[in-house]
């Protein structure tokens, strides 16, 4: 990333598209550092969705009328736009879901339940989000498959020797998080996928924290499935994506049934429609698909490399400032190319929830808790941590406010 590029990212102009960032509570402007939970939505995305409702709201694939045609085309083309954005071969490989969690469940139910056999191995990582961890754990209980977790080492990286041990001919599936929402670790998902393929296993990658802030090419990763959420990438809630390789998706049966996903129905039998529709039963998230396209357009106009560079820079700054405080334990790898834009930490003597409450007194939004990675927190030996997570509109001065507010917590609790 060239410095020039970085400098040309105009954060002030970007912030103007987010009126919510101007909100004040008790006269203090909000400092929004909870982007790993959900990102804010820029005006163009809100406008695109309200245009849809104002101008061409209709159900899709059912009406011969003009409005339905416009809505149908927009909804279908949203799949093409997403495919293009993540390097998929076409709309057949892009299924719209509610969120990452539902995408994981789609793979688990439509592939896992049918394909897993007793004693097959499901390989996860210790840093999985509950979205994949709980899902695969339960599918394994139902099928008799075993679950094993690739260890996280003391630096917060995956122990790849352990990965090579676990991913052998018994492995049927490797499900790994691309960027950890707790540690910030960027995992070597191409390498994990290659290991999986060497042993005829499939790979499922949770990209919820990767797609929003770096270029992602599913073809390059060669993942069989790849999941992410619209609301973490400047898009709306209510829409997520499951990318799947076409040949796999074609072999799979749907797990949700209903209208819009069938080809022919008799009183006795039904046959399924084409991809991706066979996995999208019922009236889908049309406005949200329109919003997701607007978000992708908006992100690409800024440039994914620049967004990544900006996040890395803010995260490095936050890491270094927090580390310099001396009484703070930070989880995850040191700043660098394998760390994403978030920092989870604990201040000595202050419980994470108390810290988050004190931060809230300064109108600083951070997350405290286990961030849906309870087993990982067990592994770290803490019940909870505080997480500051950044996005394209965050600034170093917001990090300074976070660090300044720590003094209040220390004064209260020491």
């Amino acid at each position: 990333m060239s410095q020039q590029n970085l400098e040309s990212l105009d954060v002030a102009a970007i912030r103007e598209e987010f009126p919510i960032l101007e909100r004040e509570f008790d006269g203090q402007q909000v400092v929004y550092l909870d982007n790993a939970a959900t990102t804010q939505t820029p005006d163009p995305v809100v406008d695109a969705m309200s245009d849809y409702y104002r101008e061409y709201n209709a159900n899709i694939h059912r009406g011969i009328h003009h409005l339905s045609q416009e809505a149908s085309v927009a909804y279908e083309e949203a799949h093409d736009r997403v495919a293009d954005f993540i390097g998929a071969d076409g709309r057949e490989e892009v299924i719209f879901t509610k969120n990452t969690t539902e995408s994981e469940n789609l793979v688990a139910y439509a592939w896992g339940l049918n394909e897993l056999e007793p004693d097959d191995r499901v390989v996860l990582t210790e840093m999985e989000h509950h979205a994949s961890l709980v899902t695969w754990q339960q599918i394994a209980h139902q099928t008799g498959a075993d679950v094993e977790y690739i260890r996280v080492d003391d630096d917060g990286r995956l122990d790849m020797d352990h990965a090579r041990e676990l991913i052998d001919d018994d492995a049927a599936i490797v499900s790994a998080v691309h960027v950890s929402n707790t540690l910030g670790t960027v995992n070597p998902v191409s390498e994990l996928t290659e290991l999986a393929h060497e042993h005829d296993a499939i790979s499922v990658i949770d990209g919820a924290q990767a797609v929003p802030n770096r270029p992602v090419d599913v073809g390059e990763i060669d993942a069989d499935f790849y999941a992410f959420s619209g609301h973490k990438m400047a898009g709306p809630t209510g829409i997520g994506v499951l990318y799947g390789k076409q040949d796999l998706l074609e072999e799979m049966d749907p797990y949700l049934y209903g209208g819009g996903m069938i080809r022919k129905v008799t009183f006795e039998e039904s046959t399924w429609g084409d991809l991706p529709w066979k996995f999208e039963p019922g009236t889908p998230q049309i406005a949200e698909a329109v919003g997701l396209v607007a978000a992708i357009d908006w992100l690409e106009e800024i440039g994914m490399e620049r967004i990544q560079a900006h996040e890395e820079e803010i995260a490095r700054y936050a890491y270094e400032r927090l580390e310099a405080e001396g009484d703070i334990e930070i989880y995850g790898p040191e700043p660098g190319p394998d760390r994403g834009g978030l920092v989870s930490f604990n201040v000595e003597g202050v419980h994470a929830h108390d810290l988050a409450s004190i931060m809230n007194d300064h109108t600083i939004a951070v997350r405290a808790g286990d961030h849906c990675t309870q087993p990982l927190h067990d592994r770290l030996g803490v019940a909870a941590s505080t997480r500051a997570s950044f996005y394209v509109y965050n600034t170093k001065s917001e990090v300074d406010k976070l660090v300044a507010a720590l003094d209040d917590a220390r004064q209260l609790f020491s």
Binding site: V382, A383, Q411, L412, F413
Partner: protein
């Protein structure tokens, strides 16, 4: 910038830093544990009753967690001594908030009521009216 949240008034901080009745009773009539999985708060409450099997004559708590959950347990342990089990069971979240004497933000109410719920569940289990191994404030 003023010192912190209204939630962290002196009384709360005092109970957090110098918890009353911290530890375990040697001869509790009943004891029970609970957690608030969202925060990782954990509380064990030991309660000893008089011979009337009604009046609470000693309370101890142990565990760890955020200031709100721990201060609430500490205050509750003092508050309950001398009360009856029925009075304990009649307590609700407003009573806990009153006891704490501060406004508890909606996101933290689970921390505040953990000790009360643990004590109440413990009493109901003792009376044979409830069967749970561990109380949680997740609803």
């Amino acid at each position: 910038m003023g010192l912190g949240s209204d939630m962290y008034r002196q009384q709360i901080l005092d109970h957090y830093k110098n918890p009353r009745n911290y530890g375990e009773l040697e001869d509790p009539t009943f004891s029970h544990v609970g957690e608030n999985p969202m925060c990782g708060d954990e509380i064990r409450m030991d309660i000893r009753l008089d011979e009337d099997n009604e009046t609470i004559n000693a309370v101890a708590f142990s565990g760890d967690g955020c200031a709100i959950s721990q201060a609430s347990a500490s205050m509750l342990s003092s508050e309950l001594t001398g009360k009856t089990v029925d009075e304990l069971l009649e307590m609700d979240r407003d009573d806990v908030v009153d006891m704490l004497g501060v406004d508890i933000s909606p996101m933290r109410i689970k921390c505040a009521v953990l000790a009360e719920k643990v004590a109440q569940d413990g009493a109901e289990i003792y009376r044979g009216e409830l069967e749970v191994e561990k109380t949680t404030t997740e609803d």
